[in-house]
Structure formats: C-alpha cells, structure tokens
C-alpha cells in the first residue's frame, strides 16, 4: 500500500519536473532569440537610399549615377571619372554619410549594419555603427541582377526596447 503511494508521488513529481523543464526551455528560447522582422519602414529606407543620385559620373558625358547604379559599377571595379576615385571607395564614404544622416532622424535606432556583397560571398562594403543591446531587429534586403551574378544589399536596424 505504502509502496504504491510512493510510486504515485514519484510519478506526479516526475510530471511536474518535466513540465517545469519544458517551460524553462521554452522561456529561455523565447527570451534569447532576437525578433527579426522584415519591416516596411526599413524597406522604404533602403528603397530611397538606392534611388539617391550621387555626384559620381562614370564616363564623361553620361548622367550622375544613383547609389543603385554604383553597386553594379563597384562590382565591375569601375571609377568615377569626374571625381577620379574608385566607385567602391566613393560608395563606401557616401553610404556612411547617408546612413549617419538618416540615423540622426531615427530616435529609436540603437545600431545599424549595411552590407553589400555578391551572392554568398564576403561583403565588399560593410558599414556598421552603434552597439545592439536590444533584441528587436528589422531587416530589409534587395538584390541587383548583373550578368554573371546577383548582388545583395542588406540593411539591418537594431531598435531600442521600451518597457
């Protein structure tokens, strides 16, 4: 009789322990995993950045390049003829300035990262600033198709968490 009661108790304790362990694991996973959202706001930001006209002219007599055009020119290792500068260097400095100016209007952004890379290769341009302590991350991604490959442009924003 006593033995049976003990068995029941052990069984109950086992169930409670199992449920608790499950809850703990779930809680840890929920708290630790960053929330990566594809955000309309970041998507618009990246869209507008890419449409921006720069001061770079690739060949004399042609039009001023947009940032989107410069990604292709940078991949093809071309130069800004009027500025006597490599497109990648010019793109890097222009993007740093543009992103810095944009972030001045964003009170909630704690950190950001901009990456430009040919598909599954090491980034050609990587700009990052700030320190991300929050777990709210918004991402926008675009691809530009060139003859041989696909260029990927990715903007990640880390937003402050208000409790």
């Amino acid at each position: 009789m006593k033995n049976k009661a003990q068995q029941e108790m052990v069984g109950f304790v086992l169930i409670v322990v199992l449920v608790m362990v499950g809850m703990m694991v779930l809680l840890i996973v929920m708290l630790k995993s960053p929330k990566i959202n594809s955000s309309l706001e970041v998507d618009n930001m990246l869209h507008v950045i890419m449409k921006t006209t720069t001061d770079c002219v690739i060949s004399s007599g042609s039009r001023y390049e947009t940032i989107e055009d410069l990604f292709i020119s940078c991949h093809e290792n071309r130069r800004c003829n009027n500025l006597n500068q490599q497109t990648c260097d010019y793109l890097n400095s222009t993007l740093s300035q543009v992103l810095s100016d944009i972030m001045k209007t964003e009170g909630e952004v704690e950190a950001y990262q901009f990456e430009f890379s040919p598909r599954e290769e090491i980034p050609i341009i990587k700009i990052r600033d700030g320190n991300c302590t929050s777990k709210i991350t918004s991402v926008a991604q675009r691809s530009v198709r060139v003859t041989s490959t696909e260029l990927q442009i990715k903007l990640t924003l880390c937003k402050k968490q208000f409790d």
């Binding site: 959202n37 309309l40 618009n44 869209h47 449409k51 100016d101």
Partner: protein, 167 residues
C-alpha cells in the same frame, strides 16, 4: 469506511492541485502570448500608418515618376506648399503633412520657400494633440547639368500628424 473516504478526499485534493497547476501554467503562457500580441498590434498600427503615407506620397499631385513608388516631385512640392493644399484638407484625414530633406543633415529647420530651406509644409490644421508618423521618400527634380537633362533625387522624409484619440 473512513479509510475509503480519506482516499477519495486525497484523490480530490490531488485532482484540484493538478488542475490549479495547469491553470497557472496556462495563465503564464497566455500572458506571454498577450504581451506578444500587444507588440504585434503596435507594429501593425505603425505599418498601416506608413502604408497611408505611401498612398499620400504616390498621389498624382506629389508623385514624380508614376512607375516608381515613394518619389516626390520637388516642383510639385513647391506648388503644394502654397495655400493650394488647404483645398485638400477635406480629402486628407491628417492634421499636417511635412516633407523634410534629411541628407545632408541640418541643425536648424528652415521652412521652404527660403534659401537653404529644408522642409515643406503641405498642409496644417494647427492641431496640438497629434501623433506623428513618418516614412522615407525620394525628393526628385529634373535638372539641366552640363547640357544633359536628368533626374536628381535626394533623401527625404514625409511626416503626417494624426489626431490622438482621447480616452
């Protein structure tokens, strides 16, 4: 007889304990889900506001290139920032619309038209208790440089004020 009653009582208490335990577990998860729902609702509200701003930016009265979205014609902005836009007050369910040029950055706000101005006010109903929503737009214009006519686009941000709901 008493022993059997005791056993039934013991079992009843056990069932109650297990029931309350699972109720507590359920409440805990429910609170987590509700917390996430609030965040999602807030995010959806912001995305809806941004979509509305996109509709405003893509209106024929402001749009630069009908084949592209979020591009505003600076010449149209100049015209609309005169009293003309007041006529649109009944069509626009917002308290104000402003378009800022944000690159290069500026220290002091200067309303257009003025030298080195950095923002256009298209419409304002002078409401005080408003909630501001914004999204990015390209501010484009046709320029003639070195004999070539081309599009020049800058980075801007469109802000709209929505009247706060008093609770």
């Amino acid at each position: 007889m008493v022993k059997a009653q005791m056993k039934i009582q013991q079992m009843a208490f056990m069932i109650l304990a297990v029931f309350f335990f699972f109720v507590l577990v359920g409440l805990f998860f429910l609170s987590l889900v509700v917390q996430d729902l609030r965040g999602s609702a807030e995010r959806l509200r912001a995305e809806q506001a941004i979509s509305s701003l996109r509709v405003i930016a893509d209106m024929t009265e402001l749009n630069f290139d009908s084949s592209d979205t979020l591009t505003i014609d600076e010449d149209k902005l100049k015209i609309m920032s005169t009293n003309l836009s007041q006529k649109y007050s009944m069509f626009l369910p917002v308290s104000y619309i402003r378009v800022y040029k944000i690159h290069p950055s500026f220290e002091k706000e200067i309303k257009c038209p003025a030298p080195n101005c950095n923002y256009y006010e298209l419409f304002s109903s002078n409401q005080k208790n408003t909630l501001s929503y914004s999204t990015y737009v390209s501010i484009c214009t046709r320029v003639n440089e070195d004999g070539y006519v081309q599009n020049k686009c800058e980075i801007g941000k469109i802000y709209a004020g929505v009247i706060k709901n008093e609770k």
